[in-house]
């Protein structure tokens, strides 16, 4: 697991072969993990099975020679925050998954670290508990105002808990940005496909030429071309291969002959407020997903047309990198606001650290 490896590098559990690790501007590359003032919450919690909850939390502090009264104070305070005061004398095997999770976080909190590392902390919990722990973690972060690095495969966790997201693709950083930036301005095909559920639809297209900031593309079976507006002009000679990306909710199902491309409906999943429509393009057979309103009359077997909203289309070059798309004023201000809030939060975090 590369993201886990990255976390272990930061924690000091692995030695880097190259490069530096800076923590608040301080080079910690050669410091042993205990001296980095970092706390880690392991995926398996890694509680000491033979120690009570209290001892689990106090272990690190007593090893470092902290006075007993101070240890007691910190353990009690952390236990209160996490609502595990009544569990302090129990052994880990007497706790439920959610309680173990809290103890693992408690063990991290008592050390008052400058950085928390969380390795998929919710992955061992059942779905209901995961949602409530997610909310609690967000509240905890708000309260502690300490930087947390959180590894997750769950994009809901990534989108809701983070101020900045690093998307890793096979060990390299694919994109680094705020959650909304990732969603509205994915840097490449990988991020575009990774963020959002159901996944973004991709169509192989070719450029029909650029006109200022607009690029017109058309693909196999397209009844008419799509013109996508960019943030700034990008040289794009006619015939250049481009991938057109569009999220399922930006596809519109219209009467045959009136949209951009003809498709047949394979399956309609009705979820109530919305319906997921699975189709295939009549020309290429490619599978596509669209999200329509819950009471849309579409049925499986229907032959329809798909219409693309050009303002919500993404374009990617042959290397998979995104072309800078123009965002509407509302989305842009939303992203800017998010950046500002998150920046002020991280400044607070740094001050706190």
């Amino acid at each position: 697991m590369r993201q886990e490896y990255l976390l272990r590098l930061i924690a000091g559990l692995e030695e880097p072969t190259d490069g530096q690790i800076l923590l608040g501007g301080r080079d910690v590359t050669d410091l042993p993990s205990a001296k980095r003032n970092i706390a880690m919450v392991f995926q398996s919690y890694a509680l000491y099975p033979h120690m009570s909850v209290r001892k689990n939390m106090a272990f690190g502090l007593s090893l470092n020679g902290m006075p007993r009264a101070e240890i007691e104070r910190r353990v009690a305070a952390a236990a209160q925050i996490l609502q595990i005061t009544e569990l302090l004398e129990r052994k880990p095997k007497q706790l439920s998954g959610g309680q173990r999770q809290r103890v693992a976080i408690g063990r991290a909190i008592v050390r008052e670290p400058v950085l928390f590392l969380l390795d998929e902390p919710l992955s061992n919990l059942d779905a209901g508990l995961r949602v409530s722990m997610r909310v609690e973690l967000a509240a905890l972060h708000e309260r502690l105002k300490t930087t947390m690095i959180y590894v997750t495969h769950d994009q809901v966790e990534a989108m809701t808990l983070s101020s900045r997201v690093v998307v890793l693709d096979r060990g390299t950083v694919s994109q680094f940005g705020t959650p909304l930036e990732l969603f509205y301005r994915p840097a490449n095909l990988f991020v575009a496909g990774f963020i959002g559920s159901p996944k973004m639809n991709f169509f192989e297209t070719a450029s029909r030429g650029a006109d200022g900031q607009d690029i017109t593309v058309s693909g196999e079976g397209f009844g008419r071309p799509v013109t996508v507006g960019l943030e700034r002009p990008v040289p794009c000679p006619s015939g250049t291969r481009l991938t057109l990306g569009i999220r399922p909710d930006a596809l519109e199902i219209v009467a045959a002959g009136s949209g951009h491309v003809a498709a047949s409906v394979d399956l309609v999943e009705r979820l109530g407020t919305e319906s997921h429509v699975h189709l295939h393009l009549q020309a290429s057979g490619q599978r596509v997903t669209a999200i329509v309103r819950g009471n849309h009359p579409v049925q499986s077997g229907d032959r329809v047309d798909l219409s693309f909203d050009p303002a919500r289309c993404h374009l990617f070059d042959a290397g998979g990198e995104a072309l800078p798309r123009a965002l509407d004023a509302e989305t842009r201000s939303l992203i800017d606001r998010e950046k500002q809030i998150r920046t002020s939060l991280s400044t607070e975090e740094e001050t706190h650290a």
């Binding site: 924690a11 880690m40 690190g60």
Partner: protein, 270 residues
Amino acid sequence: MRKLFIHSALTFLAVLFILPFYWTFLSAVKSTAELYQFPPVFWPAEWHFENFLTSWNKLPFNTFLWNSTVVVVLSTIGQLISSSLVAFGFARFRFPGRDALFILLLATMMIPWDVKMIPLYMEFNYLGWINTLKPLIVPSWFADAFFVFMLRQFIMTIPLEIDEAARMDGASSFDIFWRIHLPLMTPALILVGTFHFMNAWNDYLGPLIFLNDQSKYTLTLGLALFKDPHDIDITAVASITTLLCVPPLVLFFFAQRYIMEGAVGSAVKG
């Protein structure tokens, strides 16, 4: 019907195993006349429990008991400390040649004691340890291959993340061994301790080779003194043998849970 068969078979086997013990015990408490009586007496007319004390006092058994205790206690402590440390090293440290070294260690289990007997004698003779208890104690402080293997397998079932969590908490390797692994290893250590106790307690050949003075003898050697080429004191041999069985039985009683688990291989799961 099947149950009946199984129970009869088990009862038969149990009797088969208990019979020698019972016979030894009977021989200890019978009168001399009953001892040689034919057909054998299975329930003595008179129980001579004083035979235990008489036999014990025939030879300096207090000294033998003290020697045995010193050997057993010190060597067991040594075995527990050294084997667990070596096992921890093999299980948790990464160093070049570790696996080769471990295989070499395991290979030493294949060397029969008979082969090592003379070189060991020469070695301890060179060290001036013959006729002292040291040859029976000191080697146990250098770990036993089988126990190292057993404990290493046990340690390897402890998740590595626990070590890492402790390391991040500021624990040194020794802290991790002492505060985390040792407490978690308790069931395996009880098993190792019991096995080693039995070996050391019952050892006859070791003391026979390395000890000369009666004042240094252990219980097993003392017991053998009741037998000479011309005569054998059956009552005394049976009495002392019965008494010798007591400590292992007591130990087994307290440690049986771990021994049973160890025997079916689940002790290593902690």
